[in-house]
């Protein structure tokens, strides 16, 4: 029946476009804020887009910002697919950075490739154990993972402040007014800059800060995609996320999947932390505030994961988009004097719209007796929005 086919096609098209529509809606709401700040909306948004994607360097900065967001988002996909609401990206990222940096500093003098691999492994494991701890508490003692991961974020921040002011403090920074930071990592341990040679002899992203972390993140996204949809492990994680009772009936250990999903999610976030050090900052440093090192990538990753439909591949463009918002906002601030923190508000609004659009898709889907989306998104809305205000 052609008419019903057409209708089904239009329905699917609308479903596919809903995340983008929700972004547009969020920007529309943000326009109201801009007007309230006496800024020209058109100018503001063109400054935003120009600052994010206008030049090669701007785009490179956008990608640089999106790298940690993407790592975290990939992990969030795993956790949320298991119906485990991981709000602990920040803490896991810090745990990964601390362990990874310690490994890098300890291995100074070894071959570069060895330091890099060992540091990445150390960062992954530290984040994984930190996330796995929340998973274990949930599986074993039924501790709510939203609360435990938020608490563990605070613990990680204080742990970092302590270590960077003491045991890990840069030896050259002794004294009362020191900046909390580690020593600089050796040059061989630094991830190379990513320059893409074009057929016409010119190079893309030449002399920008873009580094190979992007490649690692994209490879990780592909690996986690395969894990989730092409392996028994991913099958079990998704099964538990959708239906614990049927999983138990099938002989799947629900507890094991809870812990495993948090382990993997934490590991991805841990990689975000260590790659940030190896690829960009070359040392671990903070201003003591909660987002001093992470720049809130642990939270923005949740937004990007939801925006990407809890699919690691979808998380790639979603993370770049949010990276662009963050970078563009700084340009907006320079050009128009609008506070860049406005973008934090926009992020929050996007979450609300994305989550609502997921519910809308669900309603439409139920009406058509078709596929629905994960039920975790509703639960996370409050947590993310609340946490971003901290």
């Amino acid at each position: 029946m052609p008419s019903s086919n057409l209708r089904a096609f239009i329905d699917r098209l609308i479903d596919g476009l809903l995340p983008l529509l929700s972004l547009v809606a969020a920007l529309a709401v943000a326009s109201v804020l801009l007007i309230a700040l006496n800024a020209d909306v058109g100018q503001a948004y063109s400054a935003l887009i120009e600052g994010a994607f206008g030049t090669q360097n701007a785009f490179a900065e956008t990608l640089v910002k999106s790298i940690p967001v993407l790592f975290v988002a990939i992990g969030i996909c795993v956790a949320f697919r298991a119906n485990v609401i991981n709000i602990g990206g920040e803490g896991q990222m810090i745990a990964g950075a601390l362990a990874g940096t310690t490994a890098t500093l300890a291995l100074a003098g070894s071959p570069g490739w060895l330091i890099i691999i060992a540091s990445l492994v150390a960062g992954f494991l530290a984040g994984a154990l930190y996330g796995g701890l929340a998973g274990f508490l949930k599986a074993q003692f039924n501790v709510n993972e939203i609360l435990s991961t938020i608490m563990l974020n605070q613990v990680a921040v204080q742990m970092m402040n302590f270590l960077l002011n003491g045991p890990l403090l840069d030896p050259s920074e002794q004294g009362l007014n020191h900046i909390p930071k580690t020593a600089r990592i050796v040059a061989e341990a630094q991830l190379p800059r990513l320059v893409i040679g074009l057929p016409d002899g010119t190079a893309l992203f030449d002399r920008t800060r873009l580094h190979y972390g992007l490649v690692i993140a994209i490879l990780l996204a592909a690996a986690i995609y395969v894990l989730l949809w092409r392996t028994p492990i991913g099958y079990r994680i998704r099964a538990v996320g959708y239906n614990e009772r049927a999983s138990r009936y099938a002989g799947i250990s629900v507890r094991r999947q809870m812990i495993l999903s948090m382990f993997l999610a934490g590991g991805c976030a841990g990689l975000a932390g260590v790659v940030q050090v190896l690829g960009l900052q070359y040392r671990l440093q903070t201003d003591g505030s909660p987002g001093g090192f992470t720049a809130n990538a642990g939270f923005n990753g949740i937004v990007a994961a939801l925006f990407g439909g809890l699919n690691p591949i979808g998380a790639i463009p979603a993370s770049i988009l949010f990276g662009g918002l963050l970078v563009g906002a700084q340009n907006m601030q320079r050009d128009l004097g609008v506070p860049a923190s406005l973008i934090t508000a926009i992020n929050g609004i996007v979450v609300v719209f994305v989550v609502s659009s997921q519910i809308l898709i669900k309603w439409r889907g139920r009406r058509r007796l078709q596929q629905s989306t994960s039920r975790t998104e509703v639960a996370v809305e409050n947590a993310v929005v609340a946490e971003q205000q901290v």
Binding site: V226, T231, P232, Y235, A239, Y242, R248, A250, G251, L369
Partner: protein
């Protein structure tokens, strides 16, 4: 306030649906159907699964919107766009899959969505009082302060009916209400329905069970493939006439019970005890043996330990004391996956909750247990999607499962086809011991017939089958021996040749003799 004032309701003298059409993508679910019901009447809506019964009623209840046609209440055209509007006009519906919040109490569930009589403060005591009056009026006994999850399915249905009555339903739609009930509960329900019609309520009774429809209704409308075949007074209807109207061909409902050689003792329970969800002893020192090539039917009123029995054998409920043996091996504390490898298959009672993952595709559900085992893995760690797909295709072909494809989310299949997939999956695992819990509950005639034949084939192959069912006809038709459960015990085991419905019923009815 007197009891009668508490149970007042609105009145609908006549409700008509005219020329209703509902189109789903690719399917004309309801095709120009006329239907009407009057006060004091039970109008049965009969048809196979997918005939359009539920869709038609969901339109009436405001859950779906008709593409064409109109609804007239007492001659006035009414547009019912939401369930809320339906309730306001005095239409209530009891769904096949109950719409109750398990963690809330009976009274809280009834109060859900209603305005409190005390403004912002809860008036659960008022609700409980009114509920008490209603349950007394219709003899629907339910404790208003007990959480839903502690109730058996039959009791949950009572809550659903009470909730509709509480909201003042003048017209009650019951979607396959007897699918989940025991003979006694069905009798109780019919008595309640009779009382409700005496009170001037109208009832639409959706079913595919012929003898029930013949027993309870005043008129019968038969639907097939979205079209109305005919509406006839029940007095002129017969079983064979209705079956032919429903299926479109003459149907035979008798089984050949071939003699098989009884094999060795495959499943053995030695005084097994286990706790129920309520924390009480739900299974009390049950001893039972099932031999190869034998079907042992477990009869009993819902909630007398049958669920616990099945779960204990499948490894889903811890054994408190006693011993379970499969083929002579002690499997008492084994996990579900260990039991699966020992050849234990389990068709669970609640297929939508336990048997399948609704969001997964047909193919994914086909490998719910075996997704990590050969031949469904390749390279040691990848799912072999091609092998999964072809095995699933084979099952679809062999078991005549109606699905658009293997990649369709399973929830868009009908109940009968989902159950066939579960059956196909469990039988493809070549079980030594098969536990089939309510295998045809809520499944249409055609699929039930098919499932019964498959179970008999499996018996022929030498599998030990434990058939747990609340449908006595099913138990009598398939079992070699019949065990009857009451309050967590097996009160007796009777060979089928010696069993009479009366005797089995008496053994099951212990509950009624002892309850106050």
């Amino acid at each position: 306030m007197t009891a009668s004032a508490l149970v007042e309701h609105q009145r609908i003298d006549q409700l008509q649906m005219r020329g209703i059409v509902k189109q789903f993508p690719g399917v004309l679910a309801v095709d120009h159907v006329d239907f009407d019901v009057r006060a004091g009447e039970i109008h049965a809506l009969l048809g196979e699964n997918g005939a359009g019964k539920s869709t038609l009623m969901k339109i009436l209840y405001g859950l779906y919107h008709a593409d064409e046609g109109s609804v007239l209440i007492d001659g006035v055209e009414s547009s019912i766009r939401t369930p809320h509007a339906a309730i306001q006009r005095g239409i209530g519906m009891v769904h096949q899959h109950f719409m109750l919040v398990p963690s809330l109490t009976v009274a809280e569930n009834v109060a859900l969505g209603l305005k409190s009589s005390r403004g912002w403060r809860l008036d659960l005591d008022v609700v409980a009082k009114k509920l008490g009056a209603l349950s007394e009026r219709y003899n629907l006994k339910v404790d208003p302060n007990i959480p839903i999850w502690q109730l058996a399915v039959g009791e949950q249905q009572r809550v659903e009916i009470l909730r509709a009555l509480y909201k003042g339903a003048a017209l009650l739609i019951l979607d396959e209400p007897t699918a989940v009930l025991t003979p006694q509960e069905v009798d109780d329900l019919f008595r309640v329905l009779g009382q409700m019609t005496e009170d001037g309520r109208a009832i639409i009774f959706i079913s595919h069970k012929l003898h029930e429809v013949l027993k309870i209704s005043h008129r019968i409308t038969v639907l097939r493939d979205g079209r109305r075949v005919d509406t006839i007074p029940t007095s002129t209807a017969t079983k064979s006439l209705l079956a032919e109207m429903m299926v479109g061909r003459p149907v035979v409902l008798e089984y050949q019970h071939q003699a098989t050689k009884r094999g060795g003792e495959r499943l053995q329970l030695n005084s097994v005890s286990a706790l129920s969800n309520r924390g009480e002893l739900g299974l009390k020192e049950v001893s039972l043996a099932v031999y190869g090539g034998e079907i042992v039917g477990v009869a009993g009123v819902s909630g007398n330990g049958q669920t616990e029995l099945a779960q204990v054998i499948a490894g889903l409920r811890p054994v408190k004391s006693g011993q379970i043996m499969v083929d002579g091996k002690d499997v008492t504390a084994k996990s579900p996956s260990e039991l699966q490898l020992l050849g234990v298959s389990y068709i669970p009672e609640e297929r939508m909750e336990d048997g399948v993952i609704k969001e997964f595709t047909v193919a994914e559900n086909f490998v719910l247990q075996d997704h990590g085992r050969k031949p469904f893995i390749s390279a040691g760690f990848l799912l072999n999607l091609r092998a999964i797909d072809s095995a699933c295709r084979e099952a679809i072909r062999q078991y005549e499962i109606k699905t658009p494809g293997t990649e369709t989310p399973i929830k868009s299949l009908s109940g009968g086809n989902i159950q066939k997939l579960v059956l196909a999956r469990e039988l493809s695992r070549k079980p030594q011991v098969l536990i089939a819990a309510q295998p045809t509950r809520g499944v249409d005639i055609g699929a039930s017939e098919y499932i019964h034949h498959r179970l008999l084939d499996e018996r022929q192959k030498g599998t030990a089958i434990l058939l747990i069912s609340e449908d006595l006809d099913e138990i009598m038709a398939l079992s070699d021996r019949i065990a009857v459960m009451y309050e967590g015990r097996i009160v007796g085991v009777v060979p089928r040749e010696q069993a009479t419905l009366r005797q089995i019923g008496a053994m099951m009815a212990g509950a009624e003799l002892e309850s106050p």
